[in-house]
Assembly symmetry: C2
Homo-oligomer: 420 residues x 2
């Protein structure tokens, strides 16, 4: 068991945000403009004021304007060398044996804010958003229910990380309230579609990575260099309307069933903070084409949880999964995304697809947990669910834990409101 | 035959850009910063200098900063009332009977530039891009070749304007050179996919509209108010790799087959400029659901052409189609896009899908023109094509013509380079 260095900022037991995390987000405090920030324990640190008071001067960053921007794109675009230097500097500055800022009451008064006093904003201007479909358990489960139980996995699935483009305008930050979507549904007993609120509203438990380096149109990211292009990760709830999806998705894929609201956690945890939690991926069979072939530990051991809380009731933990179940890793996803010359930008989002394990309680969607509505799940308050009901709050959590170190992502929380 | 008012700027016969057009674009002239501009005949008018020299003062626009922005988003976001006032003012300012600017040599020297001396830039920061599939002839042709000739049109097609999300990062402006994409292809005689350059590289003849007004998440655009949200239109070439598409697209839709480069014409022609060219849409059968039901003439009579030019050879006109063939109109597309509460932003792009007519020479893609490669087409230089070859230049043109008035879109031009 390692002893991890403590911070002079109090960190509650089991906090997702020890000194070793240093994630990045955007905060809004009172009437101030939005600023980049990090978090230790339950204290938010406004990086604008650290920059303003000269704390980053030793890092020789030529342009400090990213520290006053309302999104993280410009900060991330400074490049890993700089953003890692900022992160490492912050780990030193807040270490228990460092008095430099600790004794600077003026700067502390401006920069340190209890997290409950700030609003956490969407941290990115998301250029493009791709949703992959990289969990073999999820793809198999969905294939059985939506298509053919005998041939659940389609012929291309083991050869390439299947993905599709999603909508970036409707990605919102944790704490959102989303109205149940309306749309065309085709009841099984009808020849014609009907119009109305979705009756099969679902979540999808996903993680997403944020790109930190751009490419030009025509360039590809080699699979063994992909991590240089990945800044960090968030928890991602890809809300889905299964009945709208079923009617619309052939032949061009999901559209209105997926673009009415996707909910990310507010703090971007860097790839560097996850280093201690690397793990192997599932063996890929058949062998993948050379442009997708990676060696070494390219997956991460990240515990995932979904809790469901009916209105005016308690929450029930309904799913425990793990990011390490992913058949296709992020490096392969990014290499595939760009192998045709598709260009990427700083601040793009690439979601994993629903992350299901092999056990029923590790399934990452209501569709799978209730097996298409056939097996209702029972909550702690004895109510049952096959899909989400109005007033339900869905909370997703993600954290790594090993040798006394816990690095977490916080939460993605969304409440379902009735259809407009 | 109407007599159209002339401009004191020379307009060549058959120009797409008479005094009555006044499209908007972004120009780069020598070392100056990019500026919003319009065009009359072969003369570009730099709107930054008109604003700078007080020409828009009478319009009482509170904030002139959109006239110095490098994209049109802020200008469009001023709203139709303002952008229409600017357009109408410009039509007066450049009318042959108006001496105001004509005699102002100082401003003219800064603001009027021959089009061949400027670079035309991508005019928008495109937030999200949707590609519809709204030509019944195209959907039927593709269905016959990709799926089942007996059931070419899928059950949902006549009930909703099928669409999917595309990639906005890879949308470029006319004049681009795009490398043939590489990717996974599955030859018919092989069990396994292979990796290599696409052998079935295609264009898709489309138009796209630009949204000019945002909505909030949860709001919908009523079909009878949709035109208030549409700023204007461009020609859109949705380059497609048919072999990559065929292997990847089931079940989540086209991905790498479509995101290696899409090419728009540089001038956004406003909906107002197209007013004289309204026309009825094809009759929809069965009747559509109420949220998609429109009355009045919601389509536009826009002639479309595709020319193919092999390297070091002459061009051949290989397709003549018309935007009026569209089964689903733009109002229906936008109402559908937002019926679930999906929010839209200023500067989003919504492409029509390939616009084919019923005759073979009106088919809007090589896939259809060569019927899946079975019927090669012969070019003027006696070479033949089933798909695009390296060195080929594809030029798409769009124009309306009626009663002596021609309003055109200019061109979308792209040259295909060999795979990297």
């Amino acid at each position: 068991m390692n002893h991890q260095k403590n911070s002079w900022i109090a960190v509650p037991q089991h906090s997702d945000f020890p000194l070793q995390n240093i994630p990045f987000g955007i905060i809004q405090y009172q009437n101030d403009t939005p600023h980049p920030a990090t978090r230790i324990g339950d204290t938010v640190i406004d990086l604008f004021y650290l920059a303003e008071y000269g704390y980053f001067d030793s890092l020789d960053i030529k342009n400090l304007s990213p520290f006053s921007a309302p999104v993280l794109n410009d900060f991330i675009a400074l490049g890993k060398q700089t953003t890692n230097a900022v992160r490492e500097y912050l780990m030193k500055l807040f270490a228990e044996d460092n008095d430099y800022l600790k004794n600077d009451e003026k700067t502390k008064a401006m920069a340190l804010i209890p997290v409950e006093e700030v609003e956490l904003l969407l941290p990115l201007n998301i250029g493009d958003y791709t949703d992959f479909y990289s969990s073999i358990e999820h793809a198999t489960n969905v294939g059985k229910m939506f298509r053919d139980p005998e041939n659940a996995l389609l012929p291309n699935w083991r050869h390439l990380p299947v993905g599709y483009h999603g909508r970036s305008s409707s990605i919102v930050v944790s704490g959102a309230e989303i109205h149940r979507p309306k749309g065309q549904l085709k009841p099984a007993d009808s020849d014609q579609p009907v119009f109305g609120p979705s009756r099969r509203l679902d979540f999808e438990l996903e993680m997403a990575f944020v790109t930190g380096k751009e490419t030009k149109l025509g360039e590809s990211v080699p699979v063994d260099q992909a991590e240089e292009y990945i800044f960090g990760m968030v928890v991602f709830n890809d809300l889905s309307a299964r009945d709208i999806q079923k009617w619309e998705y052939v032949p061009l894929g999901p559209f209105l069933s997926k673009n009415f609201g996707s909910v990310i956690s507010p703090w971007i945890v860097t790839l560097e903070a996850l280093e201690a939690f690397r793990t192997a991926s599932p063996k890929q069979d058949p062998e993948v084409l050379p442009y997708l072939s990676v060696s070494g530990e390219k997956n991460f051991d990240i515990n995932l949880e979904v809790a469901l809380q009916p209105e005016n009731s308690e929450e029930t933990l309904i799913c425990r999964s793990n990011f390490k179940y992913m058949y296709w890793n992020m490096n392969q996803q990014l290499a595939h995304q760009t192998v045709n010359g598709c260009n990427i930008r700083v601040g793009d989002l690439y979601a994993s697809g629903t992350i299901s394990g092999s056990e029923r309680d590790s399934f990452g969607s209501m569709l799978e947990l209730s097996w298409g509505g056939k097996n209702p799940i029972t909550l702690n308050d004895e109510s049952t669910r096959i899909f989400l009901e109005d007033g339900d709050t869905v909370t997703m959590r993600a954290f790594c834990e090993k040798d006394n170190l816990r690095i977490g992502f916080g939460e993605s929380v969304v409440k379902i409101l009735p259809a407009v």
